[in-house]
Symmetry: C3
Subunit: 165 residues, 3 copies
């Protein structure tokens, strides 16, 4: 394989990962599903999935409109070997469920596997291990959350709401 | 166009974006202005600008020394077509105005347009759509902020200041 | 140097930086040390080190198990000149010491220097300048921290612990 082909593969795998995370955070579940091969497996710090259908179904059901998520990744360490590849990424994530005054912040290292298909590179395994995680109870914090479908409904449920505009 | 030229363009556009954000967060307004063509437009989640002069003037006036900003971008999805290009980026930003106990955290997807000029690639349009945003009232939080010119002046205005050093 | 060699150098330097930060945040001090030449210097916003031994020794001693760190970098601006190179990166970092209810968030621009050795690219100088920094006293915040060796021991020391699971 030439250098140029190798770079094309790394670029394509990166954009696959970005699409996966963009679809996750914007709740575009059909686009999210397209990132995987059907037999893809997952292991999110012990939360395991045996195939794509189970994994995507779980996300579709649990990441509802009232849950805001943020999943940027950093530091790609991608190695291509013919028609398969591995990728390590440094995730810094956040989950906010304003209706129950919950916020999570955390970090993790993804260890993914990718496979070349007739339809481009796809995820064959994704998973991460946490380095740390923080859970906030927002009840007594003066925080206003906006975003997502249900945020207007829930944003006034806490007693103290700051910086109304 | 060869692969190598295409990669040079993507690299140059990336560094243009990094310079734009570095100048923004370090308040180097002349360098910030150099990132745009004069006819550049902007649309920051509905805050619109019809040309570079208006856009840069707004930033120069509103992002004063007492306002600390953070604008890292992630997940470049850049497509070059001859002398124009488009770029999607995932922004995670923060704005802190300690004097009024205000902090904003949020995320957005940038959708930029770029144009090749005799002086290199420049921004012809920049704008983003928010995925979520949080506004914090820091009044009752034990937080000490440092940075920027006026931070020493304002850092003791809150009653509770943590971890003085 | 051909374009392709130049890109290989930039890629290798990027992965060196990612390894440096991954070893830092996962406390793999031998791997961390391998990122530097022995005569490497450091300057973290005024905290200076005259050689690798002092720098690595300081990190090994001060970043103990109960201290959780996060060091993702963004916006690589890397320039290679033969067997040396410079790199600017935008750091967004966090330090958590749950046992003393302390959290730091901040941002900085790294200005690194790299050198090509028989064992690949290494760091010859690393350092950054802060744009801003926030210190949180977590005492009265309802936050649960997990991660690291000692986190289970300390996580119940604050009065209010949210979202036990």
């Amino acid at each position: 394989m030439t250098d140029s082909q190798l770079r094309d593969d790394v670029d394509a795998i990166s954009r696959l990962k970005y699409a996966y995370l963009r679809c996750l955070d914007t709740k575009q579940w059909d686009g999210f599903q397209d990132c995987f091969v059907p037999e893809a497996t997952g292991d999110y710090n012990g939360l395991e999935f045996a195939d794509r259908e189970t994994l995507v179904g779980y996300m579709r059901e649990n990441i509802s409109e009232g849950m805001l998520t943020l999943h940027p990744v950093h530091h790609p360490e991608i190695d291509v070997d013919g028609d398969t590849a591995t990728g390590r990424w440094y995730l810094v994530d956040r989950v906010i469920v304003d209706a129950v005054n919950f916020m999570l912040e955390g970090a993790a290292f993804y260890e993914d596997r990718y496979v070349r298909t007739a339809d481009g590179w796809k995820v064959s395994h994704t998973g991460y291990r946490r380095t740390w995680e923080m859970h906030y109870d927002l009840t007594d914090m003066k925080v206003k959350v906006t975003g997502g479908v249900s945020s207007d409904r829930v944003r006034n449920e806490r007693g103290h709401v700051a910086n109304e505009d």
